[in-house]
Amino acid sequence: MKTFDKKFTLLWLITILIVFLVAIAFGITMRMEQAEMVDVGPLNFYILMTSHGLLMAGVWFVAGMAGIQYILSRYFEVPRWGSVVAYACTLAGVVVLLISTFLTKFHAGWYFLYPLPFYAKGADSGPVLFLIAIAILGAGWLLWSLVLLVTILRKYTVTQALAWHHITGRPGPAVSPFILISFVSLIGVTACLLAAVVLVILYFIELARSGTMSNDPLLMKNLTFFFGHTLVNEMLYLGLAVLYELFPKMAGKPAYKTSWYVAISWNATLLIVLFAYFHHLYMDFAQPVAFQFIGQVMSWFAPLPAACVTIFSVLTTVYRSNMKWSLASLLYFFGVMFWAVGGVGAILDAVIANNLVLHNTQWVPAHFHTYNLLGNVFFSLAFASWFADEYGSEKMAPSMVKVIFSLLVIGGTGFVIAFYLGGALSVPRRVDMYSETVDEGISLAKMAVVFASLYLVGMIMYTVDFTKRCAGQLFS
């Protein structure tokens, strides 16, 4: 069982790293097109954009899940088939997705805002194939999250897994922060994947009725962002759950315990995250104002429990710890720093009055790339580094640690700063070229290409080193 868990986690990690490199290459090509350094044309640009977005969201979601699956297997017997089915569905979903985008030219963007899939479809089979890809991915991941939820519930009741007894002081089993955060995040994942299922069903009903009925665009938009926003948030929390488990040991400190405020924080996060997505619809003035206000209030309260507790814990763990830094601990520590920076960018955009001039500008990719590329990705790379240090043939050479870490941080920071400047200069996001009105975007795209290339070099070195150290384990 344990050998299987190790090998399968390794398979997940190698697959994730390879898909990540491909998705980065797509992203750099998009920025090169915006910088007028290449000429792929608008259709290919939006095909790349659709593929890049969905691959990135998907790959780092499964990275978080693979981390959770592995750490859970150290606590309990976790059924293998959930992860195996999810792996098969992920591979099949990615293949169908790439067929829909590159062969049938589907180009409606990763969150395929209704009714765009019927207009930006390429061939007639484009939206059908794309929706099949989403259905395969959604079904596999939903099943996986249910398997993990049930695994936790075999040992704990719902209230125990939510650590309510740590709040009330009633007797009960000690629940680690890892179990609590995993449970909370998996509930959120299940909720948003169910929304995706409903969304896909509604699309298929409309397709089946071929023009005789149409869905409500505002309802579809709410479903889309409930799914997309929540998925991206929860995948970050999956990475954090593993951080809570591994980071204190890296610092030579005792394991984190679930105190009353940790329990309250993550229970609050469970609720808050489900309602923050309304901020994606601020500029839809037809949406009831009460929802818009809920969006801003929840977006501003969201960082309080999870981020404040985590940031404070990580800082106090490292403070005068005399710890020996590895690539894993560096990525965790600075991943939390960039998560905080990206969070500031996000909540500034979540002020409705600011959103009036920031919505759909480059401020949006600025903040989500900060807490994904430099936050969430760092958390999963930290897990992979820890995994390679534990089970690989050798430790990473210190010089390699310095080079890879510097490339990722310098490359990633310069890349996101180009987006922040773009947001401040009103440069729109998701365009293949910049009109005269916003032509500052061209030089910022050139800057982004240079820094993203540094990040890519760092990731290639990371992937080669990881594979060299661990691939032997896969076949041993």
Binding site: P42, Y46, M49, G109, L113, Y114, P115, L116, Y119, A120, P217, L218, K221, Y261, M283, D284, F285, A286, V289, Q296, W300, P303, L304, C308, F312, L315, T316, V318, Y319, R320, S321, N322, M323, W325, F333, V336, M337, V341, V344, L348, I352, A353, N354, L356, V357, L358, H359, N360, T361, Y420, G423, A424, L425, S426, V431, D432, Y434, S435, T437, V438
Partner: protein, 183 residues
């Protein structure tokens, strides 16, 4: 100062503070010691953050654009319809493709320092209706099929405003633009 610059300034300050704190703690990790008064400092940290959130919500929510000139009578209503990949702007409602074609390409002029109500919708997919002056985004609203989004706005500067689509709407999205004159 325009909002974008204010936001960028606040963000830059917070960026510097966060990075400084993390680097100081990182440097401290070479030493041995204990973090003193952990619970007290955590409580202070939390209450400062909680207070800041309440303050920001209290100040910013009333400034939401839904309330802009809500109790005033607009001097002019302007109807905007979006359709892949152009805008149609008129003083009359645009409900059909014929309405759209009739006013497509027409130049509209609106008065300066008066309240203008933009009634924005779409005849196909989601689009964005945004107003730029000299490359700076002034305001925006989504153009959604089946719904009308109403944005009230007072132009304080005369001249030609660029209208750009800010919601990805398909292959020629980047070229979807129009002009509005303010006199």
């Amino acid at each position: 100062m325009i909002i974008q610059k204010e936001v960028f300034l606040v963000f830059s300050m917070m960026f510097i503070i966060i990075v400084t704190v993390f680097f100081l703690v990182f440097i401290s990790s070479k030493k041995i010691g204990e973090f003193q008064n952990l619970n007290r400092k955590r409580a202070i940290f939390f209450f400062i953050a909680f207070g800041t959130v309440l303050l920001v919500l209290g100040v910013s929510l009333p400034k939401s654009p839904y309330f802009l000139y809500a109790n005033d009578q607009p001097a002019q209503k302007v109807f905007v319809a979006a359709k892949q990949f152009s805008f149609s702007i008129s003083k009359y409602p645009i409900a059909t493709d014929d309405d759209f074609n009739m006013s497509a390409g027409a130049e509209i002029t609106v008065p300066i320092d008066e309240i203008i109500e933009f009634n924005v919708s779409s005849l196909d997919v989601n689009h964005g209706f945004s107003l730029y002056k000299d490359g700076v985004l002034q305001a925006q609203v989504q153009a959604m099929p089946g719904y009308v989004n109403r944005l009230r706005w007072r132009f304080s500067e005369s001249g030609t405003y660029d209208i750009l689509c800010l919601e990805y709407c398909g292959v020629a999205h980047a070229a979807m633009a129009a002009k509005l004159k303010v006199e």
